[in-house]
Amino acid sequence: MSRGQIWFDDAAGPLVRPYAVTRGRTRSPQAELEMITLVVALQPSDHPSVTRLDPEHVEILARCQRPTSVAEIAAALKLPLSVVKILISDLIERQLVLFRASVPPDLHVLQAVINGIRRL
């Protein structure tokens, strides 16, 4: 099965409990969100504009006050990756977070990674 193909459709909805927090939505509109995509909040999680968000959204905002990967956010919220991607997409849509897709590192970055590993 190819990547990006849907595993659920709308009919699955809240019957699949983890998707209850996304109100049955099973696909993220931000297809570029990968496990190591970094997400950073544009607002503090107690900002007045976040009062109408769901608790999960607020928790994501709190978790990514510094650039944090999608995988780390999912692990912290104990929610499946696909669910967290949908919630992050909501925040992107509302311009509450920014994300940076991972790009293939150049030789410079690669050398820095090698130096960093050597220091371990």
Binding site: I36, V113, I114
Partner: protein
């Protein structure tokens, strides 16, 4: 519209946050020590994230032939190494069970390279991983995990058994040891750099 004021977040743009993330994989058969390796070098205790999958199953006895969907989760363990203020390295263990192969595509997407852990008592368990990375053109090194004194073969014998070229590094290791895991990662990233350099110079 950029306001300079009490809100430190206003006006921040995506290209302003100075962090890039890179990903390496740790692959191999079930129980070969993937999570142990991640734990030995990660700056945080390994985190676990899950993905939901549906599997179509069909009851043998069901004469109506109705397929039924079941939902299962596949767990991924990963660790983090902050290289410097602008680069974060993530280390993902691949799921050991064959039926979660589809997850490998997402994991492999954008991965710099992979450490394939091998246990010489069950060498064939790492064949699928070797095969996968070869076909995907993802650089990898083999780490022959020698815990419990389970080293019965030489590096060359392992290389022959796996059918990999002399250019693919094979190392003996004990991934419970931080230094040993570090050496594997170092070997891998230097291998990746050598291949990338050769590619850019046309060599």
């Amino acid at each position: 519209m950029v306001f300079v004021g009490s809100d430190p977040y206003s006006g921040r743009r995506a290209d302003e946050f100075p962090v890039s993330a890179v990903k390496l994989l740790v692959a191999g058969g079930f129980g070969v020590g993937k999570t142990t390796m991640v734990a030995s070098v990660s700056e945080i205790p390994p985190l676990r994230t899950e993905e939901l999958i549906t599997e179509v199953s069909r009851d043998v006895d069901d004469l109506s032939g109705i397929e039924r969907k079941t939902t299962t989760t596949v767990a991924l363990d990963f660790g983090r190494i902050t290289i410097d203020p602008s680069i974060v390295l993530y280390l993902f263990g691949t799921p050991g069970q064959d039926r979660f192969w589809f997850m490998w595509n997402e994991l492999a997407d954008g991965a710099l390279g992979a450490v394939v852990l091998a246990d010489t008592r069950r060498l064939d368990n790492c064949f699928p991983a070797v095969d996968f990375f070869e076909r995907r053109g993802i650089p990898f090194v083999i780490g022959v995990n020698c815990f419990d004194g389970g080293q019965f073969y030489t590096v060359d014998e392992v290389r022959d058994a796996l059918g990999i070229p002399a250019t693919t590094p094979v190392l003996l290791c004990d991934v419970r040891q931080r230094e040993s895991s570090r050496d594997l990662l170092l070997c891998l990233t230097e291998h990746v750099l050598a291949l990338a350099t050769a590619a850019t110079t046309g060599g």
